[in-house]
Amino acid sequence: MTHFLKRALADIRSNKFLNLITIITISLSILVVSVFLLFFENAGRVIESWNQGGRAMIYLKEEFNADMLPQLKAKINSLGDIDAMVYISKAKALDTLKKNMASQTTFLKTLKENPLPDALEIKIRSYNNFQEVQTLVQNIKAIDIVDDIEYGQGWLGKFLKIFNLFKITGYAMCGFFFLMALFITANTVRLAFYSRKLEVEIMRLVGATETFIKAPFYIEGLIQGFLGGILGLGALLITYMMVSSGITQSLASYVYLDIQFLSVKMVMFIIFSSTFLGWFGCYLSLKQIFK
């Protein structure tokens, strides 16, 4: 193993420029991919916080009375995709309103009767899928006693449409950069192989196994992928540190924003993927050379 590692490092040293270009290409690809992942992770968190984890309010008609509640709950539950359901009576809703408005409650005393409707607060499970949410909402609306349902349909719909558009663009870009990095890695390994063609030929003639010949190239690919991943994530971290505090401060007064760096799990996944990318590029190249 030490021998293979030494050989791989010697190869990298002797083809410094080529290896540097490959590592930079991989790191740029990883940077682009991780920018999208960072956006998706944060956008998901922001949607969740803005939408309070898929919270929706079902307003009930005047004729509703507490006896109808168990039957209504069962009916809504049977429509599926609901995590939690809390009944808020009109009296409780008025109390909450009074508490929330604190000093400005004098006008509420002028009310002859409670104008607020009975309501059910629900949490929708798959609230990131707007079509599913819409279908569920329509089914709930179809229940006789339900007057209206409020779930932030306006902005959520628009935001999710933009988010999904970004997602598709993101996947396409990630795929494109992944392929680009893959071909460049494969090409670097191919060039490294040709620069060592005589050595490989001699090794074959004196009885080296295929594994013995290929191993340094694979290690080279793994090193390129690993370093590319680390560099790409490092660049992302620096950009994140420079940009995130500025964005959060300037937009904090308008919207709730909590921009966080990628989770440890995601960082590990990216490093693993880029290392795999290096290996896979090498595999493709050697498969073609040795066929």
Partner: protein, 129 residues
């Protein structure tokens, strides 16, 4: 050549022929080399001496006839067994097969490295002379 005792045969060739395009380089070579025998193959340039050697260590594996080396049939040898066979050969190549970017020590050590020998053994063996 000697064909008295097949038990001691180390290299045997049966009707080995080799063509380059339409040109015949080797024609029906049959020979039997015994263990410990010292053999010279001579001939003018282009007679097929190198071609014959290349067939023996399978640098050229497209030929007609049968070649047996220590009981192993080269026509049927698997790619995984080929390195094992080659490790049993000691060949001085016509073009020396030296890597100009490596030191003398590294060039010597390469053969032992390829054979999977340990570093300590390689050092000891390579620095012997």
């Amino acid at each position: 050549m000697n064909d008295k005792n097949n038990k001691n045969s180390i290299i045997r060739l049966f009707n080995v022929s080799k063509r380059f395009g339409g040109k015949l380089a080797l024609k029906n070579i049959t020979l039997d080399i015994q263990q410990g025998e010292f053999i010279f193959i001579s001939g003018p340039s282009g007679a097929g001496k190198s071609t014959l050697l290349k067939i023996l260590y399978l640098a050229d594996n497209i030929f007609e006839g049968q070649v047996l080396i220590d009981g192993m049939n080269l026509s049927r040898i698997s790619s995984s067994k080929l390195p094992v066979l080659r490790r049993r050969f000691g060949i001085v190549f016509q073009d020396f097969k030296l890597i100009p970017t490596r030191t003398v020590y590294e060039n010597i050590a390469l053969v032992l490295e390829a054979a999977g020998k340990k570093t300590s053994f390689i050092k000891k063996k390579s620095c012997r002379y």
